[in-house]
Symmetry: C2
Subunit: 367 residues, 2 copies
Amino acid sequence: MELCRRSLSNILNMVKQEPLPISTRILKNDLLLKALDGKPVHRPPVWMMRQAGRYLPQYMELKNKYDFFTRVQTPELAAAITLQPIDLIGTDAAILFSDILVVPQAMGMEVTMHEGKGPALPAVIRCMEDVEQLIVEEAAWHLQYVYDAIALTKQQLEGRVPLIGFAGAPWTLLCYMVEGKGSKTFDKAKAFCYTQPEAAHALLQAITDVTIAYLRNQIKAGVDCLQLFDSWGGLWDKEDFAIFSLPYIQQIVQSVKYECPVILYAKGVWHSLPELQETGAAALGIDWCNTPQQARKLTNHSITLQGNYDPVKLLNPVNKISQDVKAMIDAFGTTRYIANLGHGIIPNIPVDHAKAFVQAVKEYKAE
Amino acid sequence: MELCRRSLSNILNMVKQEPLPISTRILKNDLLLKALDGKPVHRPPVWMMRQAGRYLPQYMELKNKYDFFTRVQTPELAAAITLQPIDLIGTDAAILFSDILVVPQAMGMEVTMHEGKGPALPAVIRCMEDVEQLIVEEAAWHLQYVYDAIALTKQQLEGRVPLIGFAGAPWTLLCYMVEGKGSKTFDKAKAFCYTQPEAAHALLQAITDVTIAYLRNQIKAGVDCLQLFDSWGGLWDKEDFAIFSLPYIQQIVQSVKYECPVILYAKGVWHSLPELQETGAAALGIDWCNTPQQARKLTNHSITLQGNYDPVKLLNPVNKISQDVKAMIDAFGTTRYIANLGHGIIPNIPVDHAKAFVQAVKEYKAE
């Protein structure tokens, strides 16, 4: 892959000064935005979380050549990876190839990614003093490479489909910043909240402030919609989710929703769907542990839902996948619905099975 | 600790021939059994999952002396560990110190336990042939040490509180038998079910058959009630839980419920609470991601519920724990309720905090 620094620097100048020209914002396929807006569609839009990922041989080629943060921090690579599933699988939206941990990095923390082991943050947050040493005001400006990747991707997409930007929810980022690595239960992160609530709230607020600036810059750079990932929200009970996660999600959504629709994906947080709905999000992501019927009921049939196919189910035979997708759309309904997985696609899914998932949505006809 | 082989061999002879004498079955504290039976109680019973565990210095003493399976397989050690929380924390029930993975072991699989790393099963199940080589008919007889531990514990308990026996649900055991180790998502185990459903069902049925014989022997040895742990049930959606877990749980409950009440703890399976209720279980365990109100609603206010304090919340100050426990009982109600955690207690909980949890239940007075 040849890096074309010259064309990029033109775009950069553009982004720094003003939004992309309107022409790049006109979308040939705006199903996703219509679904987010509750408008009628002839069939639901479809994309897959982690759709630019290891199940694609073309992704593996770049992965084998460049390490993780090189791929993330090089706009040409990030854009190329972002476009792969659009070209190869035919999804109705692109989601920027990046990582939620670029925010802790921009706040001054070291983050490394070890093949097969997940992320590591060697110097974790342990107390208020550690929180106070984080970069907050200028952090979003350390993420220029993300805005550059967005501008480049938008240019290369040529309006074929919308581009989704994203960030991690403050609680989910706190998990990694305090625990220092992945965990099933993030006990240390929860313990931090219980034993040092002031430091925890200071940290959550700092992450929130950075995230708002970060997402505003993503919007300026050209994303058509945003997704906020609270991947570890489901570790809290309803009461503590309302204390340590929800208020910060709400601040973020309220700060950007007038410029850009937001999809909230809070894995496992079925107990707080009504509260998430009230944040002002345009859509809520649902995992497979909720049924479409129950999710519709809990959200009073009045918000766009996204999900919720179990990614492991993509190992089923193709005809079973097609049947399942049809049943899923029947259950969610075609309006106010975005077909997706309930979590990120996993590496060992055959490409044909991912295609079958997308194709089944495209061929959907209600009976 | 001195092993008294002689007194044990007497008990063994007894167990092999006939149930324990009635005198050892008369309970001074039968709050748990009353709650399971839906009878009125002056306050709910309380115990804690993994209450005989690493947060207790007295447990650590034995842990540092004997390796995991020595502790599990030596009836005197298992009994001593089982009694520790009764003496030290004052819970209303004892739960036998053992492990769900003794069943795969009895079926012929090697299981090792590595400090801080969890279990490892080096030779996993990969196909129908592997399933066919498992020991089924005689497996339950390889677990005599469990029955001996039960008999010894019952003798040493002297009727102070009931003794809970337990086993893993077939799906949860399949997870380890196929994946070979712990996992956040058990993708290999799920993939096995999707790609080799016949082998998966054969394996689930084999585990079910062994588990029924195993639990019947536990009852004969003297347990007062049983808990079935489907720790990984929450990885399925409702549809696949109904295929790969529920029918086997149902077989087990139906096979033992007339002799002994069964508590079903299926972590994260809030979507199938009504179906779990219909298995004939005496109680359902609830984790903290469900609210008491929602859990009562989903089970039509007509079954005993157990749970659901987040174990990490035991890191809160003692007065906050007491407040929380009061609120939890207020929300669940005093009848048809067993106060417990929503999952096992974690190692770094101060003993005083565990005591405060139990004490708050004992001092509960409705307003």
